[in-house]
Symmetry: C2
Amino acid sequence: MTLFTKTAITAVLSAGIIATAAFAESHSDKALEDAVKARHAQMQMISYHMGILGGIAKGETPYDSAMVDAAAQNMAALAGMAPASMWLEGSEQGFTEGSRAKTEIWSDAAGFEAQFEKLGAGALAMVGAADAAAVGAGMGAMGAACKACHEAYRGPKN
Amino acid sequence: MTLFTKTAITAVLSAGIIATAAFAESHSDKALEDAVKARHAQMQMISYHMGILGGIAKGETPYDSAMVDAAAQNMAALAGMAPASMWLEGSEQGFTEGSRAKTEIWSDAAGFEAQFEKLGAGALAMVGAADAAAVGAGMGAMGAACKACHEAYRGPKN
């Protein structure tokens, strides 16, 4: 997908075409870009903790109950973060640098949030997993939530 | 502070000098570096949400109760994250690329975690702040926790 440039957007507006949701919002460009960076930090932390749990599940790193519990709790905390401060309207792919957010995030907010809820529920269910096999058994639900959310709400690479 | 290079560390070890805590741990270099990146993502998200609340407190952005509550809740979630998965022993400044973590984080873990608890308590107290002045009134406690933690547990710039 081609990234709309500000010049292109200005041209579209000058032509009198109806503005998208991006223009109905009061957030500055900087606020939108900072929101995208915060979301990427959230995703990085989710990926980091998935990596810890995945490594234990695969036997690449030794099972450690304190590490499993910490990673699962942190995953639940990350999945449970309130969307309002980070998923600002107008910060979708094509309008804000670096964003891969589809507009369905806002048009189908309930569906979007349901995937985070599934991820959080899967993470909480993993707290107390007694061995690597139990960690592995819990990975499926979490991975499915990641995959479903990315397929429905994340656009192609920029 | 000079970053110890691996060559320098090898030289020190070869000289028979007692190894530091970094070498008593089983985490790989990659695991330590990934942990530092995850902490930086956590700090970025904390800074992002502090910025939202600070902007509202200063009147730079309009008061918005949903935004205040989301930012405060997310700050509390970030401050309450379990340290075990991210503050890996051996990932202190001088041993892991990019780290500014002082060894006091591990030698005084209770003091370190107490600052995060203060930040989280300050954030939760801000949920429901009814106007920009109330947001401003709550910023002090949160800012004090940030400052105290950085002074005691964060080393100089790399």
